[in-house]
């Protein structure tokens, strides 16, 4: 048969993407490709070659019309690849063992956390200016043990069940916290009354569509106001294998607040809890910052021996994301902001974080 006479357009009908690349190849390759059926060759990806050079007969799995057979061939292809990968790994491992001490160090995979851009505002523990700044800022009274924290927890107007339960559970987690019903009062009027009654924190949980979604944390005498976005709230009954309700003053763990802004926020959280934790109660509240999201967890721990700890999660669990930090008490319209979240800032650099 005279294969060269068959026009190219004939073959061009059913084929999809690879056609432009494979057109020239197909013309010369017809004989092999035509009578080809599924089980002859393995799926080898098409190569871009010039018409002059000789190339191996290529065949792609995507050209088989029959769905079941195509699936089978694809599965085979995948298994082959997997086998090759395992073989390569074993080989590497052998080489590493053979070399012993001289083996090159194990490569650490790149993650966004370890590729994080160095932030120039990272606090150096020895820096005097920053130390002075922190010693004399709005939290100085708390850290010098002059005041005890007293927290007022309230919600936005007309809260639904979930938010109310969240507030109650928060009040058990934070010692010396009182929950008050909002009743449509203006925050700017509540604040002077709180100051008169010696409250040190005002916590307002904002609700949207029956779910808590925002948190305004205002340090009272004249302190900064932080506005967070709350997500992923899990109440006590939704936590699996949880322990009994918290009883004592917890210890506080603040992880990964490294920049200057992170320090301010970390101190804001630390000043919520009393300075003397009851170690007997073995309860700990953790604020873990990762990629600008702050995860709150509350656990009870027990040391089985020196190296092993058992933990049980109690209490609610939620994540926070800082939206703005405002100097002074709550005044969203006329207050001065120390930091405001800009919406598309992460788009330009995914490895740069603020906290």
């Amino acid at each position: 048969m005279d294969f060269t006479e068959v026009p190219v357009s004939d073959q061009g009908k059913g084929k999809k993407k690879k056609n432009k690349k494979t057109k020239k190849q197909k013309v010369s390759e017809e004989g092999e490709a035509r009578g080809d059926d599924i089980d002859t060759k393995d799926g080898v990806k098409m190569e871009r070659t010039e018409p002059v050079t000789v190339f191996p007969p290529t065949f792609s799995v995507s050209e088989i019309k029959n769905k079941q057979r195509r699936h089978l061939m694809f599965m085979k292809l995948k298994q082959d690849k997997r086998k090759q990968k395992i073989m390569l790994k074993k080989k590497k491992k052998k080489e590493r063992e053979a070399l012993g001490d001289k083996a090159p160090p194990k490569e650490v995979p790149k993650t966004i956390e370890n590729q994080r851009v160095y932030d120039e505002t990272t606090v150096d523990p020895d820096d005097e200016e920053v130390k002075f700044d922190e010693e004399t800022d709005e939290f100085a009274a708390y850290f010098n043990r002059l005041t005890n924290p007293k927290v007022l927890i309230t919600t936005s107007d007309r809260p639904r069940g979930r938010t109310v339960r969240f507030c109650e559970q928060l009040a058990t987690v934070i010692p010396n916290a009182h929950v008050y019903y909002r009743r449509g009062l203006a925050l700017k009027r509540i604040i002077p009354q709180c100051i008169a009654r010696d409250f040190t924190y005002l916590m307002v949980i904002n609700e949207d569509r029956k779910m808590p979604n925002g948190l305004v944390l205002c340090h009272l005498p004249d302190g900064p106001t932080a506005h967070f976005k709350v997500s992923s709230v899990r109440l006590r009954k939704e936590i699996k294998r949880r322990g009994k309700d918290p009883t004592a003053h917890p210890e506080v763990i603040l992880n990964n607040f490294s920049t200057r802004l992170g320090h301010s926020i970390g101190r804001l959280f630390a000043a919520l809890f009393p300075q003397d934790p009851h170690f007997v109660g073995r309860q700990v509240a953790t604020f873990h910052n990762q990629r600008d999201f702050i995860f709150f967890r509350f656990h009870r721990y027990i040391f089985k021996n020196e190296k092993k700890v058992g933990i049980r999660e109690l209490g609610p669990r939620f994540t926070l994301k800082l939206r703005s930090l405002q100097k002074g008490t709550f005044d969203s319209k006329f207050g001065e902001y120390e930091w405001v979240l800009k919406r598309h800032e992460m788009d330009s650099c995914r490895r740069k974080f603020q906290l």
């Binding site: 432009k20 505002t121 200016e129 207050g335």
Partner: protein
């Protein structure tokens, strides 16, 4: 010390001098321990030459700082702390004009503790500014206190009092909160910005006491204002860190300067070059170029910054390397040697030497090259090469990093676009 490009006052009581071309920031303090009561509230030049600074702090003292010597030379008591912090401080020949937040504008003669003239400028004065043309004219304005222009030689009545805007369509009185103002050079007019995100232009020579032009920017109070050299634009900034250039002929926004993440407390344009410096609560000094509105320099200074003074140095010029005389002599010898040996290709030899690091014996020349490298290699964040370090802190520059990252990411985006386009083209042709 006249090398410093910008002087900043911080909330912790420090006076900071920043040299952008050398990437250094130096802290100056009048006492060995820091004190919040010395929070710097007002900064101004003490005279026409930029050699001395007047630093007004929250405890009511005005200190004079000598830029040449690098120390505080004298201090004066100009008011009690309970009267409010300084909202304006200017030099009037050899005398001082100060203004407190409670509205007392006072003129202090040298070496006297009692003010010569005192003017009551309202209940709350947020800012007082001096006219660059006529130094005895000052403008004041504050919350519910309209803009007033005073002539200090006739302090009984203000020369010009602005009238509040007309009542709204509901016949309600419009609230009034002047936060900053500036005299437009060349004309008699005055620009002011308010806490209700308005910018007003007043013309005292016209019979109209209401603003001649009103422009609006953003939704947050405008905190600072500055006039660039060209005269028909004004730069404003608000409490959320948004900075913009407004055109004064029509009142429209020309462009926005991006970068600040916190409230901007002070803005100043450079005297001759199209540059603008800003500082604020986010603890950074930023210098933008006015022509392309791009960020040129960003310096992290660890405390919240209250006020700013731009010197007339060119921050983009390469810094002259500061050297001790002996080194210069040694250098000269080395250069002389080189020239004498290679007369024809003298220029080429020098170039080769610049690239060739660490070669030959030139220790002193290495220092010289070190300074040049600092200026040239802007991208290198790790450039800790300092010529003569007698300060406490050294500040890392961030500019280069920003540029690199932007370049990387835009390249990536372009690549992906072209690929998809070619893919689409291919399929289209086949269908035809």
């Amino acid at each position: 010390m006249s090398v410093m490009d910008a002087w900043l006052g911080a909330e912790t009581g420090l006076l900071k001098g920043v040299s952008v071309s050398r990437k250094q920031a130096v802290n100056f303090s009048s006492s060995s321990c820091l004190d919040r009561a010395q929070e710097v509230r007002a900064l101004s030049w003490a005279g026409p030459g930029e050699t001395e600074l007047l630093v007004g702090s929250a405890d009511g003292l005005v200190r004079t700082f000598s830029a040449e010597k690098g120390t505080f030379t004298s201090s004066r008591r100009c008011g009690e702390p309970h009267e409010g912090c300084f909202s304006g401080l200017h030099a009037l020949g050899s005398a001082l004009v100060t203004c407190t937040e409670k509205g007392a504008v006072r003129v202090w003669k040298e070496h006297s503790d009692v003010p010569v003239t005192e003017v009551r400028a309202g209940e709350h004065v947020h800012r007082m500014r001096q006219s660059p043309v006529a130094p005895h004219r000052v403008a004041t304005g504050g919350k519910e206190t309209p803009v007033k222009i005073w002539d200090l030689e006739n302090p009984d009545k203000p020369m010009f009092t602005a009238k509040n805007l007309r009542d709204t369509w509901l016949d309600l009185r419009q609230p009034h909160w002047v936060r900053d103002m500036a005299f437009i050079p060349g004309t008699d007019r005055l620009v002011s910005c308010t806490g209700y995100h308005q910018v007003h232009v007043y013309d005292p020579s016209s019979p109209q006491r209401r603003p001649v032009l009103e422009a609006v920017f953003g939704e947050y109070p405008l905190t600072a204002l500055s006039l660039p050299v060209d005269g028909h634009t004004v730069a404003v900034a608000n409490t959320q860190g948004q900075m913009a250039l407004l055109d004064l002929r029509k009142g429209l926004v020309c462009g926005v300067l991006k970068g600040a993440s916190g409230s901007v407390r002070a803005l100043q344009c450079h005297m001759t070059l199209p540059l603008i410096a800003s500082c604020g609560l986010d603890r950074h000094l930023r210098i933008h170029s006015l022509q392309d509105r791009k960020l040129q320099h960003k310096v992290y200074l660890k405390s919240r910054l209250n006020c700013l003074l731009f010197s007339s140095n060119d921050p983009n010029a390469e810094a002259k390397p500061v050297k001790v005389k002996e080194e210069e002599e040694e250098e000269d010898e080395v250069w002389d040697k080189m020239e004498s040996v290679h007369e024809d290709r003298g220029a080429h030899e020098e170039d080769c030497v610049h690239e060739d690091r660490g070669a030959h014996e030139e220790d002193c020349v290495h220092e010289d090259r070190g300074a040049h490298e600092e200026d040239c290699v802007h991208e290198d964040r790790g450039a800790h090469e300092e010529d003569c370090v007698h300060e406490d802190d050294c500040v890392h520059e961030d500019r280069g990093m920003h540029k690199e990252e932007k370049v990387q990411y835009t390249k990536g985006k372009n690549k992906r676009k072209t690929d998809s386009k070619t893919g689409q083209k291919k399929t289209k042709k086949q269908k035809n």
